[in-house]
Amino acid sequence: MKDMIRITVSLVAIFIAAGLIMGVTYKYTSPVRFIAEKKEKEEALKAMAPDATDPIKPAGNWISSHGKPYEYYLATSSGKPVAYISSTAGKGYSSYIAMLVSLDTDLKIKDVKILHHGETPGLGDQVEDVSFIGQFKGKNLSQIELTKDATKTEKIIAISGATISSRAVTNGVKDAVQTLVDKYGAGIKTAAQGVAK
């Protein structure tokens, strides 16, 4: 009986002390972390539309084909829209590949950036190479289609050995572009073609 109490007291004391240490650490580190994370997000968005002079504001949410919610943003320069940005993701070989996509006002892709992924090193992670991700620049909705034919430069050429990761990125980008075109594309001719397709 005496032993039981001693064991309990010793465990409880350790747990309380540990809880206090963790709590105090959290109290002092969480504001720093929160500010850093917010700043990183703002910087990532800013990098997607470097010509925007106003702060980039969230404009709404959309649900992707794999059922996850993503946010889209409007980048303006003295009140006039200069870019439409959306976060998105594609389901890859071993992870969701999270990305940011920005469109210019002609609804052509301005930039695609991969934020994080967990694809196979050496194979799937080649989607981060400029030779693949750079292909998206300047494409419109109807051109975002994966091909294995290396001569079709108007489309997106898949990386051999990483077809699933290539497809994930392409689908994620296409989802985001489709959404942005639906939201902002009304009245613009290229967009009408894209939506029809």
Binding site: I7, F15, A18, M22, T25, V32, R33
Partner: protein, 209 residues
């Protein structure tokens, strides 16, 4: 538990004689998971190094207070506390490192090597030897990860610390998990061979503990 502690032998023991990965064969799972590149291996090693020193110091300080019947839960909680503190501090002040290592930091809680040193060394020794043992074992783990990382990244990606060196990828399999086991087995074998051939040792590699 004599009053004279040979720090030299503790350090040598941690880095060579009982190297956590190559000799004790503990914590092989993270050793395979993070050593696809030198940089990841190094950062993981640094995190483990700090956690091991803190855990060994705490366990050694509390060794008279911790009831032997509940020592394992107590050790686990001490480990979890220091890992959480490391995680929170890194998330706030070392963002770039945290983005790379964030996934792995919490795994340190379950590293066999941390618990085994708390049980085998820190709980039976005074504060200073326990800290030295934690540092030596952490350093041994760090060196093992860096060695594995160099071997795997050079063969698998042709680069070191992210910089291209060979300009080709000689053996892609080395950066896949399978290659991790190959690399680990080869390294263990080589170190045992060197030990037997040049130092007259008997070799090691799991089983001894």
């Amino acid at each position: 538990m004599s009053n004279e502690v040979n720090y030299g032998s503790i350090i040598k023991n941690g880095i060579f004689g009982e190297n956590p990965v190559f000799r004790l064969a503990l914590s092989l799972c993270p050793a395979v998971a993070v050593t696809s590149g030198v940089k990841n291996g190094f950062l993981m090693g640094v995190a483990v190094f700090f956690v091991m020193i803190m855990v060994n110091a705490t366990v050694s300080l509390l060794r008279k207070f911790i009831n032997p019947k509940v020592r394992i839960p107590s050790y686990m909680f001490i480990i979890a506390t220091w890992v959480t503190v490391t995680d929170l501090v890194m998330a706030a002040y070392a963002r770039d490192v945290y983005k790379q290592m964030g996934l792995y930091i919490m795994l340190i809680v379950a590293f066999a090597i941390v618990l085994s040193r708390a049980e085998m060394f820190a709980s039976k020794n005074k504060l200073l030897p326990a800290i030295v043992d934690g540092a030596a074992m952490g350093m041994g783990f760090l060196l093992a990860l860096v060695l594995l990382g160099i071997f795997r990244e050079l063969l698998g990606k042709g680069s070191l610390w992210g910089y291209q060196i060979l300009g080709s990828k000689p053996l892609l399999i080395m950066i896949l998990p399978t290659g991790g086991f190959f690399a680990m087995g080869l390294m263990m074998g080589w170190l045992n061979w060197i030990d037997r051939k040049f130092f007259g040792g008997t070799g090691g590699g799991g089983g001894a503990h």
